[in-house]
Assembly symmetry: C2
Homo-oligomer: 422 residues x 2
């Protein structure tokens, strides 16, 4: 017989357009599950658990819960708090179990990236060690698509769709003039270039943007970059470059580091923080052409739920649901993975992944999926990404803009002594 | 009896999400008009006319012409070439009339902003002076919404809708953490703050973004800004600020000028171009809080046709159609203006505006539409903008991203001697 008790859902790491769809999947599935009584949310992830900052999702309006399906960012609240190893900080783990015990929480669903999967795993291990019956399951989420084993991660399809669309539009915008222009587009991704690679989907014809794609997987050379851009200007009179924020030169230095190395202190006594885009802009202005526009997607890209991928959205919800079912079946220390079937047509199902196999590993773009010159991706990449950006989410428009969920998050009365994680 | 002959349509200035919808209105209406035979497009606006770089829109595929309705940027090509006065550069005007005469162009439709309206006017005047029968009508276009007389301008509703939506999303993204964060959002608008003001539509509740709106219409004070941001951080633990790129301090200096005043020469021998956002980021980091994110909408905002306003889109098309009808009725030296009726419900019709009344005047946000503190807009602004962002354009999605028009633009054989505007 399955374990009975309450459950807790929490979110962590950087927001995405669909992390709330996963939360909605967990919550609505938990509501339907006989073994689960109350559904708690933790405000600000594991930090909220430690602080006993909990609220009841059963008390939220069902229509707001439903709206979570289309709402970007982390509606429960996120954190960057990183648990140390059990050995290094057992009191954190003891506290988590104390909080769980105080509220009879027997199911823990943690939606997040690599660090959060690690947390879900360690909490599961510690519960077993101290003999507290708990099922802890991780739900993957990251725009970076850099988790191992799982075919892709919830959140990636939506950012990929937005980037491909916007680069198409920015490309049309960049080519209207009769003088040469260069546009440098900075896209998220510190170590893996998946999001930047998605810009390739914007390109149907040779003259279209992006003309070049520079990824963290390939050492960046200014000389090669200059040659590339000049060739595009020569041919098309404009050049749109998509590059990952995490691009590094041959010595392993980030372009943003190079930008600040020679930077002066500004009028506020601060080092002027030129980013990678400013670095490239300055280089192009000096060596190639004067008209250089910076397009930095910053947080716009990861919360553009108005253009979320329907497939990503549905799969994210499915992962949330699956987490509940796996936990009820008795699994713990596991993550919901996604398995792809490409033939005869794309289909995605969930699978159980051992969290020990996931923690602290990164999935980068394989070298053979990048062209020989290292300045564009191959058809393997666009074939891989194309099914993930399919379909559009139907939005609830109100007065011309999307209506997103608004939770009350009324904190429950605390049962334990005060704890203060900041 | 109306004048018979060919017509020419051209685009100028910065792209928008709907300037092609206006072009489509002109083209499709011209196709239906008995008095108009061929429909020429000029590549790169008036520069293309001078260069005799013309192509036939009759030769383009009808489905691509139809796609112009939803395609962002300037599909015909734009320019920044500014005609001098007739006195100062009569040879330019003579050349334009020569090109028109060589191709029997009797109708000239120029879609653009303030400068383009001025060009349409001067070309009309010069044609009259030299006795060349021509009807020249301007179709307004500018995301800035800064043209006088017309209630609003095609292009504004779409950028307003995108900014309001994205600021809502960025606001949700900015508030997920348990530590204080400041987000500075830089929005287009050198002298008029209409686009930035549209961000107010994102805010439904007091705790929502944007917390403050800084406009070029109000002198910017760093002290007031600091007080504002600290108050929001105190109350909400996050602060999202929307400001126009054209914000100036009490001495009339752009923030971007202040940013570069003390900037050093970078490693490429260039002055490090910190923009207004970097200036505010640095100030906040020194005086308020460490976590500051820059969101600079750059060209993303003006070409985000994937979220164009249906109303703006339809009105832009209507303005293109109206231009043709006004010209056929014999009007010249006029611009299509937009008249609003708000009661019993919003309705917009076109009107004829004398181009002499439009040229070189700017419509800014009236002082009484900005709050007393100068850090937000009043309900008059949101009431004014709300109808303009209504409805969503149906996109032609292909492989998960919008399919936009692709014109051939096969240049016709030149009849005159070579001319070379760059």
């Amino acid at each position: 017989m399955a374990l009975k008790g309450n459950c807790l859902v929490a979110q962590s790491g950087g927001p995405t357009s669909v992390i709330n769809a996963s939360a909605c999947g967990v919550i609505q599935e938990a509501f339907k599950t006989a073994e689960i009584d109350k559904v708690f949310g933790a405000v600000h992830g594991i930090a909220g658990v430690l602080n006993e900052d909990l609220f009841l999702l059963n008390d939220e309006k069902p229509e707001e819960i439903e709206l979570l399906k289309v709402t970007p960012a982390s509606a429960l609240g996120s954190c960057r708090y990183k648990l140390k190893s059990i050995e290094a900080s057992e009191k954190d783990y003891r506290r988590i179990i104390d909080v769980f015990e105080a509220h009879n929480i027997r199911y823990f669903f943690y939606i997040g990236g690599n660090d959060s999967m690690d947390t879900a795993n360690k909490v599961s291990q510690y519960a077993q060690r101290v003999g507290y019956e708990l099922k802890s399951v991780g739900v993957p989420k990251t725009i970076d698509n850099d988790l191992p084993i799982t075919d892709h991660t919830p959140g990636f399809g939506s950012v990929a769709k937005f980037i491909a669309t916007s680069i198409k539009e920015v490309g049309l915008d960049a080519r209207v003039y009769d003088y040469p222009t260069v546009t440098v587009c900075e896209i998220m991704g510190r170590n893996a270039g998946w999001i930047t690679a998605a810009s390739a989907l914007a390109k149907e014809f040779e003259d279209e943007a992006p003309h070049y794609i520079y990824l963290p997987e390939i050492p960046f050379s200014l000389e090669k970059f200059e040659k590339d851009v000049k060739a595009a200007i020569e041919k098309y009179n404009y050049c749109v470059v998509a590059f990952s924020e995490g691009v590094k030169n041959e010595e392993g230095k980030y372009l943003s580091e190079l930008a600040t190395e020679n930077a002066a202190v500004d009028s506020f006594g601060h080092v002027q923080l030129g980013g990678a885009s400013e670095y490239l802009q300055s280089y192009v202005q000096k060596n190639i052409c004067k008209k250089v526009r910076i397009v930095n997607y910053s947080s716009i890209q990861r919360c553009a739920a108005h253009l979320a991928s329907l497939r990503d959205n549905e799969e994210s919800y499915m992962c949330g649901q699956a987490a509940v079912r796996y936990a009820i079946e008795g699994h713990t220390g596991k993550m919901v993975g996604m398995m792809r079937q490409d033939h005869p047509e794309y289909k995605c199902t969930t699978e159980l992944v051992d969290l020990n196999d996931v923690a602290n590993k990164e999935k980068k773009i394989p070298r053979e999926w990048i062209n020989a010159e290292g300045n564009f991706v191959t058809k393997e990449v666009t074939d891989y990404i194309a099914p993930l950006i399919k379909g559009e989410v139907k939005l609830n428009m109100e007065n011309g803009i999307p209506r997103y969920a608004r939770l009350e998050k009324k904190l429950i009365e605390k049962k334990l002594e005060v704890w203060n994680v900041k």
